[in-house]
């Protein structure tokens, strides 16, 4: 049963700390996305990779967020330093191509105090 996996599932941290979230896309999928869900903004795209290359990170606060794909089986989203307004659920999704169905992981619920 192919699924997108994300770790950790929950993270509580103090303001100013670094947070790293990890995602393993479905094997064979060449597009990977990071989304964030908050009550105020809903679901919004942060970053988008194709064949491990970043295509669009316009939704990400550049000064504190960074997204990478060190290899085809791992995508990371880092926040440094974290702030209380970063509290949200972060979803990773993958798909077999730009115009195809995207499949979402279970999300990482981040709380920054």
């Amino acid at each position: 049963d192919a699924r997108v996996t994300q770790t950790p599932r929950h993270k509580v941290t103090e303001m100013g700390q670094e947070v790293t979230m990890r995602c393993q896309p479905i094997l064979g999928h060449n597009t990977v996305f990071w989304y964030r869900q908050t009550m105020m903004q809903g679901l919004e795209l942060l970053a988008y990779f194709r064949n491990r290359a970043p295509l669009d990170d316009s939704g990400m606060p550049k000064d504190r967020f960074s997204a990478e794909m060190p290899d085809a089986t791992l995508a990371t989203l880092k926040i440094q330093p974290s702030e209380p307004r970063d509290s949200a659920v972060y979803f990773c999704a993958s798909g077999p191509g730009a115009v195809y169905e995207q499949y979402f992981g279970p999300g990482t619920r981040l709380t920054v105090t």
């Binding site: 996305f33 679901l43 730009a98 115009v99 999300g107």
Partner: protein, 113 residues
């Protein structure tokens, strides 16, 4: 970017009732997906339907791409159908929203026994 509007924002049903959820979008799309977010926060793929009609059990969906709307039908609703239903679209090649899902604000469905 593409605008996505879902209606109604909230829907309360008795078990066994039928319902129709609507998604309007502002531009041509080559990806349209319906998701169900369950009470545990998981985004479950319901349909990938940039055009045409599909059915899966008690659920069916229709997208009329030329008129820029999609409908999700739920028949004989069950309490397990409760949750939030999202429509998400991505624009055509050459546009700024190509490959990137833009989500509507969702329809919150509550099904009472």
């Amino acid at each position: 970017g593409i605008q996505v509007e879902q209606s109604p924002p909230d829907l309360i049903l008795q078990e066994g009732a039928n319902s129709t959820l609507r998604c309007n979008f502002s531009d041509s799309v080559n990806n349209l997906q319906w998701f169900h977010q369950n009470p545990w926060g998981q985004l479950i793929n319901l349909f990938y339907i940039p055009s045409g009609t599909k059915q899966n059990g008690r659920l069916s969906a229709t997208t009329v791409a030329t008129e820029r709307y999609s409908l999700l039908y739920i028949s004989s609703s069950q309490t397990t159908d409760s949750g939030v239903y999202f429509c998400a679209v991505a624009g055509r090649a050459g546009g700024t929203s190509y490959g990137k899902l833009t989500f509507g604000q969702g329809t919150i469905l509550t099904v009472h026994p």
